[in-house]
């Protein structure tokens, strides 16, 4: 059920990302809804389908983006790994974990994209990327991460109801 739900959710997010969010830049950075949802999903306590969601979201973005195929998927997998790593350590403060993983995930995703473009023969100035894209994207992602986390938490509670021990 949770895996099946990933298809419409990720489809909707890719749609929103390409039509709406990508048109609302701060300098040249934009929020990344797919990344935020993947991170928020991976940080949920009872969720065990984060890798599935990551792969589905990564493949969908790979198809929509002109980045070398698979690069968004690698970036999202790294972000999910960071989320899993931190979930075990900062599990008592999920909002804090969300903010930290958003920061790390954005850096990992942008780093992956930058390296991939360097290899593909499209070298971009590191400091220009940092100033014009990564730092503004970090600000936007941090702002959007809290409402995204709240929505995804509700979705997780609905899909994975807490079992009471009697």
């Amino acid at each position: 059920m949770a895996v099946a739900l990933a298809f419409p959710v990720m489809g909707l997010l890719v749609l929103l990302q390409t039509t709406l969010v990508s048109q609302l830049p701060l300098l040249h950075g934009t929020a990344d809804l797919v990344l935020l949802v993947i991170i928020a999903w991976a940080l949920q306590k009872r969720v065990d389908t984060a890798w599935h969601w990551t792969i589905i979201g990564g493949l969908m973005i790979s198809m929509a983006s002109a980045l070398p195929f698979g690069v968004p998927l690698i970036g999202y997998l790294l972000a999910t790994s960071a989320a899993y790593f931190l979930r075990r350590r900062v599990w008592q403060a999920p909002i804090l974990a969300m903010l930290i993983v958003t920061l790390i995930g954005t850096l990992l995703y942008h780093g992956t994209s930058w390296i991939a473009l360097q290899i593909a023969g499209n070298p971009l100035d590191f400091f220009q990327v940092l100033n014009l894209i990564t730092l503004p994207s970090l600000i936007l992602n941090s702002l959007v991460s809290i409402p995204v986390f709240a929505i995804i938490s509700d979705l997780a509670k609905w899909l994975y109801p807490e079992t009471l021990m009697v």
């Binding site: 934009t30 002109a66 100035d125 994207s137």
Partner: protein, 281 residues
């Protein structure tokens, strides 16, 4: 005997009546009439108010229900008309754009165009690409140039059945061979991460000024010739440099792309096999 008495009474009454009328006409009876009429009017007002209140109480529920229904109907009608106005404004805006595009297409009859709407942008902030709603089913092929009535937009880099991805000339990986008018100097346009477009490889001897027009040169076979791109916004010429460099002000507003034209009869030439590899004689 009765007759004179009656006559006297009649005369007295007539005189009293005439006197009263004369006093009334002269305004001398106003205080008296006010004294009499005011309580009457007050009573009449009170009674009418009570009657109206009772009548409203009895008839109001029906009216309120009817008025509420009518209000709802009018609100629905208002919303419908508002939506219609917005839709018509959008249609008007699209019609204006299409009209300009048709004029542009008529001005260049040698080219065949396919109009397409911009339906999205690349999700990665590193790249300047747009997605259009025409694909291979509509005759769109990889490499076809994309323009608007103002000038060059970019070229198609990927195609599916119903959509295509267009690389804008502002993309950092985009390179366009251009010619600067009126000096006819060849140069190369490059996109920048900042969204600017730089013009490079202008020979030092070329007389380039701010405001000069920049058009595609057709060299390299990637774009057709003489498609307007923009104007030179600034130029930098230093003696120690091999070439002059500058910044281009594009004629197309890339942040507001809505409808574009794909030149469908242009076949790009791939000259890659003709470029000698480094170290190969």
């Amino acid at each position: 005997m009765k007759s004179p008495k009656l006559n006297l009474q009649t005369v007295v009454l007539v005189l009293i009546g005439a006197g009263l009328i004369a006093l009334a006409l002269g305004g001398y009876l106003t205080p008296v009439s006010r004294l009499i009429i005011t309580p009457f009017v007050n009573a009449q007002t009170w009674l009418t108010q009570r009657y109206t209140a009772v009548r409203d109480t009895l008839t109001a529920p029906q009216d309120i229900t009817r008025l509420r229904q009518r209000n709802l109907e009018l609100e629905a009608e208002y919303s419908r008309l508002q939506a219609q106005i917005i839709e018509l404004q959008q249609q008007l805006s699209e019609t204006r754009i299409l009209s300009a595009l048709v004029d542009f297409a008529r001005a260049s009859p040698e080219n065949q165009y396919q109009a397409a709407a911009v339906i999205g942008r690349d999700p990665s902030p590193f790249l300047y690409y747009v997605i259009i709603n025409r694909g291979s089913d509509d005759g769109i092929r990889r490499g076809m140039p994309v323009v608007t009535q103002q000038g060059l937009v970019g070229r198609v880099t990927a195609v599916t059945a119903g959509a295509a991805r267009v690389q804008l000339i502002t993309d950092p990986a985009s390179v366009v061979n251009v010619r600067v008018e009126p000096s006819r100097a060849d140069a190369v346009l490059k996109g920048e991460l900042s969204g600017d477009i730089t013009i490079d490889m202008i020979p030092q001897g070329a007389d380039i000024k701010t405001g000069n027009l920049v058009l595609t040169s057709g060299l390299g076979g990637g774009y057709p010739t003489n498609v307007l791109i923009g104007q030179i916004a600034s130029i930098r010429s230093r003696d120690q440099d091999l070439f002059q460099q500058g910044i281009l002000q594009p004629v197309v507003d890339f942040s507001r792309l809505e409808i574009v034209l794909v030149i469908t009869n242009f076949k790009p030439v791939d000259i890659t096999p003709l470029i000698p590899a480094p170290g190969v004689p």
